[in-house]
């Protein structure tokens, strides 16, 4: 054990890192670091000792090797829109921020693939593909900010992943810097490479396997046309029943999203799309495919809306996703979280999933739980997947209220588990929901997961204390970096 003073070891780490990424490529002053103390999940905070912004895979690998030499933990970060505390620098250490690796390396239309760097903001790939007849299917509501590297780490979904599949269904290969600093190609440009489906495992690893530095994705053909319907209901119950009916009737919508009164009002104030602010709930129901047959599908949906006492004041026919009404309705939906600022200083979004027939039940439970803990809860979510997003409104400065928010969140998630569902459909476990893992999985399941993590990340140095409770090599050890900054 070396007896060097913490301060000098921290200084040496900084100097070594600066030698790799340059002085412009890192920040370490406390007031600059504060931005990185949390991500979209604001309830827990931890300031990293230093944030580096590598621009090449080689730099990432060298930074990782330095973390090993200096025995400090590190954590990858994209845009920091995680809603589960995935980027939290537990124990301090080095945060590796990929936002300067943001190039589109290649677009190959004949083979329907694209190669991108991890820091590329999701929507930039969509824009680059506009007009080609192809698109990248995963479209998280945060797509204007979040990175494809972050999407890969969390296996992101989005409104249109109901029909087209989530991130893991569209990733063919990645370049991965392992926690020991070695670089490996996982998967490739062609599907089903001989060997295990490591891509299936790597997508959704929440940063616990290393750092993704390049991604090959598959592209999807644009639909020829579509219909986007606005269904308006007096009650949440009627809306959720309609969702269940649509699915049970064998209709596969491209998207099926719900907003309740609170969210309708917030969104309407912000964007003035024309949502009826006195409605109990609205559904955005989209079908797409060939123009031949589109009206029949839309009509079948309209009938189910009417059957449940709803109305369809708007039905947007479209050929491209550029139609002004189409753009407006989706902007309203995708910016819904942004509109919450008008309602409350802070919010916390949950991400439970229930079988789709259980949606009416879980929404009733959410109302009950909100009343019980006196927390205002709005709902805007991917109803077609059974993926709820109750948004709990609170004031971060009110400790007692924060405590009630946590209790209410937990009770909602418990109920999802009771319904045979999950506590996260797309945001990930992160640090936030780690205590739920033993409720979803038994000890044997969890130890198999720990064994898998150890195959990639034997020392637990990469993104410690995430996703799986306990059992990781050096999780408990102190971080010299942490001491240095204390």
């Amino acid at each position: 054990m070396s007896v060097a003073s913490p301060a000098s070891s921290a200084a040496r780490l900084l100097a070594d890192l600066a030698a790799v990424v340059g002085p412009e490529g890192l920040i370490h002053h406390h007031d600059e670091l504060i931005v990185y103390e949390c991500d979209g999940y604001v309830i827990e905070k931890s300031v990293p000792d230093v944030v580096v912004f590598p621009t090449t895979t080689e730099q990432v690998a060298r930074v990782v090797r330095l973390c090993n030499q200096h025995d400090v933990p590190f954590v990858p970060r994209g845009a920091g829109t995680s809603l589960a505390g995935g980027t939290l620098a537990v124990g301090g250490g080095v945060m590796i921020c990929l936002t300067r690796m943001d190039k589109i390396v290649e677009i190959n239309l004949p083979d329907r693939t694209a190669v991108v760097e991890p820091g590329l903001v999701n929507v930039r790939l969509t824009r680059a593909l506009a007009g080609t007849g192809f698109h990248y299917a995963p479209d998280p509501s945060s797509q204007g900010a979040c990175t494809i590297g972050g999407n890969v780490a969390t296996n992101s979904g989005g409104p249109h992943t109901l029909k087209y599949g989530v991130t893991v269904n569209h990733v063919l290969g990645v370049e991965l810097v392992l926690p020991d600093g070695s670089i490996v190609e996982v998967g490739g440009k062609v599907e089903d490479p001989p060997g295990y489906d490591l891509i299936g495992l790597v997508v959704g690893n929440e940063g616990t396997f290393g750092i993704v530095t390049k991604i090959t994705v598959g592209l999807t053909r644009d639909p020829e046309s579509g219909r986007t319907l606005l269904g308006v209901f007096d009650s949440v119950d009627a809306a959720t029943q309609t969702v269940s009916d649509i699915i049970a009737n064998g209709i596969v919508p491209a998207a099926l999203e719900m907003l309740d009164t609170l969210m309708i009002q917030a969104v309407e104030q912000a964007f003035r799309f024309g949502f009826p602010t006195d409605a109990g709930a609205v559904l955005i129901i989209e079908v797409d495919g060939l123009e031949a047959g589109m009206d029949e599908q839309a009509e079948a949906i309209r009938k189910l809306v009417l059957k449940n006492g709803g109305t369809v004041p708007k039905a947007i026919p479209w050929r491209t996703r550029k139609e002004p009404d189409y753009v407006a309705i989706w902007k309203s939906r995708k910016s819904a979280f942004g509109a919450i600022g008008r309602l409350s200083p802070s919010y916390c979004t949950q991400d439970g999933v229930v079988p789709r027939t259980k949606l009416p039940h879980i929404l009733r439970e959410i109302t009950r739980i909100g009343a019980k803990y006196q927390i205002r809860i709005g709902n805007v979510f991917h109803a077609g997947d059974g993926n709820i997003h109750p948004i709990l409104l609170f004031d971060e400065r009110d400790e007692e209220e924060v405590a009630r928010v946590i209790l209410a969140s937990h009770e909602i998630l418990e109920e999802c588990v009771n319904c045979g569902g999950s506590v996260t459909g797309e945001h990930g476990i992160g640090v936030e929901k780690i205590s739920f893992m033993p409720k979803l999985f038994g000890p044997d399941d969890l130890s198999a997961m720990v064994a898998i993590r150890s195959a990639f990340n034997p020392e637990g140095r990469c993104s410690p204390e995430k996703m799986i409770p306990g059992g990781g090599g050096c999780l408990e050890r102190r971080s010299p970096g942490r001491h240095a900054s204390a």
Binding site: V184, M437, F441
Partner: protein, 419 residues
């Protein structure tokens, strides 16, 4: 422990090797304790479903037992309105599809010999067919799994809801793992509404250039086929029998949707195909042709069978290099995957040379060739799984994490077959 003498035909594992015993556990718990016990006895575990594809992979490497799934066939839960189903892995694909059909639903996976083949076998081997282009691969339909590890523990991953990111994705990891990580005992799937109608459009092509142009144009066709298969002449005779046109290349396009939508597409594609000689089979008539396209991988004269993958844009060049006198080829052109098999009479050393050339051509685009079937003595020389890939070392670590004793299907997959 030595290999037993052949006690009885049904003890055969594969490649002339026989099992010491056959275990037929009736429940996951029973299965798990069987594994622990057999491994403690120093035996390896060879899982078996319907036994239709036990030849896949290298020869069994050390003595062991067969563990069969055929007593685990329960439907655990089928909430049809949620479009999901949880079943035990020993159920045959035919029985599973029949259950789904009663609710107007189906699992969009094509399986050869579906009356024999089990769901567990399909997932262990990652088996698909022509519809893959439209509906995706086995990994795209699985949402939950339970498997028994060699140490006698039962592990689950995923769940029963269609969207779920809690924990590592064991359902995908186990898909295509060829029984080397554990024995799959339960699978939860998301299923789809059965299409109202189905049609296959068969078009004859006299030149590869014309075929290439058509395939290129299909990339932006107004129609949306769920299958784009190309057959060379001997494969067309094998698959389509008397329906086969007498041209060197045959394109088969599959459409599945509502009646009106299928009609529109069949009409439209006829026009897009312009001069090509076209024939349409529709509805019930299409069923046997879909099956024949699926069964190509399990039927035919091929002493050596291959599974090939390459970027679709390289397909035409590759097809131009394959002599129809030597090989039958079915190319799933939309996904760049091919099933190939030797014609009768092709010598092994010629086959080996062809394989070498194929591998080089595929590797240029990041593709690969797997030997799906060949005589035991050729398995080593032909390198069943191909040359080592950059992520195999990582794969071996994953294997060691779940099966540290190396008890599961030793010798059969890339990690233990040697290269």
């Amino acid at each position: 422990m030595n290999w037993p003498n052949p006690p009885a035909e049904h003890h055969a594992i594969a490649d002339g090797r026989h099992a010491h015993a056959i275990d037929r556990p009736g429940s996951p718990e029973d299965l798990a304790s069987t594994l622990a016990q057999r491994v403690a006895e120093g035996l390896a575990i060879y899982p078996r479903g319907g036994g239709t594809a036990m030849h896949v992979g290298g020869p069994p490497a050390r003595p062991g037992v067969l563990v069969e799934s055929n007593r685990m066939t329960r439907i655990i839960d089928y909430p049809a309105a949620d479009m999901t189903i949880s079943v035990e892995a020993g159920i045959t694909m035919k029985a599973l599809q029949a259950t789904l059909a009663r609710e107007g639903q189906f699992l969009p996976l094509d399986t050869p010999e579906s009356g024999q083949a089990t769901l567990g076998g399909v997932y262990a081997t990652n088996t698909w067919g022509p519809r893959r282009f439209g509906y995706g691969r086995p990994r795209d339909h699985i949402i939950g799994i339970r498997f028994a590890k060699a140490d006698g523990t039962l592990v689950k991953g995923g769940g029963r809801v269609v969207k779920n990111v809690a924990g590592y994705d064991f359902p995908k990891l186990l898909t295509g793992s060829l029984g080397t990580l554990g024995v799959i005992c339960e699978i939860t799937l998301k299923v789809r509404p059965k299409a109202e109608d189905s049609a296959l459009v068969v078009a004859a092509f006299t030149s590869l250039d014309a075929l290439g142009n058509t395939l290129g144009a299909l990339n932006t066709s107004a129609t949306r086929p769920v299958a784009i298969d190309v057959l060379n002449a001997p494969a067309a005779r094998h698959v389509l029998a008397e329906m086969a046109p007498s041209s060197p290349w045959v394109l088969v396009l599959g459409f599945e949707e509502a009646k009106a939508t299928v009609s529109w597409q069949v009409d439209h594609i006829g026009r897009e195909l312009g001069g090509a000689d076209v024939r349409v089979v529709r509805g019930d008539e299409a069923g046997p042709v879909w099956s024949a396209l699926t069964d190509f991988q399990s039927t035919g004269p091929g002493v050596v069978k291959l599974r090939v993958a390459l970027p679709p844009s390289l397909l035409i060049t590759l097809l131009g290099r394959i002599d129809p006198a030597d090989w039958q080829v079915q190319a799933h052109a939309g996904t760049g995957t091919l099933h190939m098999q030797t014609n009768a009479g092709r010598e092994m050393d010629q086959t080996a040379a062809d394989l070498q050339r194929l591998r080089i051509a595929c590797a240029k685009g990041g593709g690969h060739v797997i030997v799906a079937s060949c005589p035991t003595e050729a398995k080593g020389p032909l390198k069943v799984w191909g040359d080592p890939r950059p992520d195999w070392a990582l794969g071996a670590r994953v294997k060691a994490a779940l099966d540290p004793a190396g008890a599961m299907n030793p010798g059969r997959f890339f990690d233990t077959m040697g290269t």
